[in-house]
């Protein structure tokens, strides 16, 4: 009994008490310091890209943990982008996908990563996959189309993730439209996305004209005419990039195609009747 008492006393004196003292001191220090640093932490946190546990897990698998822990995630992301270019040159799509995910997790701010990543996924990877399958001559048109659609879908998911970080960025929306237009040859969907892009801030004027042209291409002449007349009225007079004269020309072309009587034709405000 005495021996047990001695052992427990030694355990308490040597381990438990110092541990309890340290923990209590740390807790006290934490309470004091967190109150002191709270506002500064909010400022630091507001300026940092959010990092989830999932993102940390991703980085752990790729040796970029130093970047996450060290704080220079931007630099690590930039270096990984260089590494990604090497994977792209070697046409290593598995590495490419993994690195794209990692880079955009570490630093989702530059649209450069998202747009170029989406282009790699949708334009380059299908070619690699077709080549892996034996080349364009070896696979059926159906299979080729399936690969292109699969990769385009991946690019759309990637760009959707991008839009969560840049909801007002017209370039990302336009990229979706371009993939529909150039890769999937889906004019209807492309037009839908060009229209979405045109409604975002700072979107160039030509996006609206592209939308109208796609409507024309689909044979939706009335819709294109209505859109262009509305567009013409909304364009500024003093901005040469608005190209109001080009829009007016297209309106007149559509009027001719639609055989609209002269007296019902669009008359821009400010122009007198001869």
């Amino acid at each position: 009994m005495d021996r047990w008492r001695t052992v427990s006393s030694v355990l308490f004196e040597q381990y438990l008490r110092p541990f309890a003292v340290v923990m209590c001191s740390l807790l006290l220090a934490g309470v004091v310091s967190s109150a002191f640093i709270h506002s500064s932490w909010q400022q630091v946190k507001a300026g940092q890209v959010e990092l989830s546990l999932e993102a940390v897990e991703d980085t752990l698998g790729h040796g970029a943990v130093i970047g996450v822990l060290g704080g220079f995630r931007t630099i690590v992301a930039d270096f990984l982008w260089l590494k990604l270019n090497a994977a792209w040159e070697q046409q290593d799509r598995v590495e490419l996908n993994a690195l794209l995910r990692l880079i955009t997790t570490l630093d989702p701010r530059p649209e450069f990563f998202w747009i170029n990543g989406a282009r790699m996924i949708s334009y380059d990877v299908p070619r690699w996959r077709i080549r892996e399958a034996g080349g364009y001559d070896a696979i059926s048109a159906h299979r080729e189309r399936a690969i292109i659609e699969e990769q385009a879908e991946q690019a759309f998911t990637f760009l959707e993730k991008a839009r969560a970080f840049h909801p007002e960025n017209y370039r990302l929306v336009m990229e979706v439209a371009q993939i529909y237009l150039n890769r999937l040859k889906d004019d209807a969907k492309a037009a839908e996305w060009f229209l979405k892009a045109s409604r975002l801030p700072d979107c160039p004027y030509y996006v609206s004209r592209m939308y109208a042209e796609l409507l024309r291409k689909q044979g939706k002449l009335n819709e294109a005419y209505t859109y262009l007349t509305g567009l013409y009225q909304s364009l500024p007079n003093d901005d040469p990039y608005a190209l109001k004269n080009v829009v007016l020309e297209r309106i007149h072309e559509l009027e001719a195609e639609l055989s609209i009587p002269v007296w019902e034709r669009f008359m821009p405000s400010g122009a007198g009747i001869l």
């Binding site: 923990m23 807790l27 704080g71």
Partner: protein, 142 residues
């Protein structure tokens, strides 16, 4: 490919003066890590134990804010209190990861007061850990 100058049109200008400030903050952080290592060493029996435990404490300190946020919506009052208590025990190293904000991001420049506060926070913990380590070493003969 998208032109890099277009992508970074808003500027990613390096402010070299702030690199020095960031370096100072890193030294303060290293001081805290050194303090933690000494505190662990004051308990430890082997060198390896000190290195491993110090590294894990470093990880916990670095990532504690994520855990705290992840458990912010926890329903159980006891579990919430426990997590908060644990978060209080470990200093927040993420505070020192302001390299991007100091050196690059011109839109959200960190105020000098914030940098000073982070430095004071680090110095406080550095001295605190060193004090605790010293206290423990005094009680140790072997």
């Amino acid at each position: 490919m998208l032109n890099a100058s277009e992508a970074f049109v808003d500027g990613r200008l390096v402010r070299y003066g702030d690199i020095a400030v960031f370096a100072l903050l890193q030294w303060v952080k290293f001081g805290m890590i050194a303090g933690i290592s000494l505190l662990v060493a004051s308990f430890a029996q082997t060198n390896l134990y000190t290195v491993v435990v110090s590294f894990f404490v470093l990880l916990v300190c670095q990532l504690q804010y994520i855990a705290l946020e992840a458990y912010a919506g926890i329903e159980s009052a006891f579990a919430s209190l426990l997590v908060r208590g644990l978060a209080m025990v470990f200093p927040n190293f993420q505070l020192f990861n302001v390299g991007d904000q100091l050196v690059y991001d011109v839109e959200t420049v960190l105020p000098l007061v914030t940098v000073c506060k982070i430095t004071v926070y680090g110095l406080f913990y550095m001295l605190f850990f060193l004090g605790l380590a010293q206290l423990n070493f005094r009680r140790r003969e072997i």
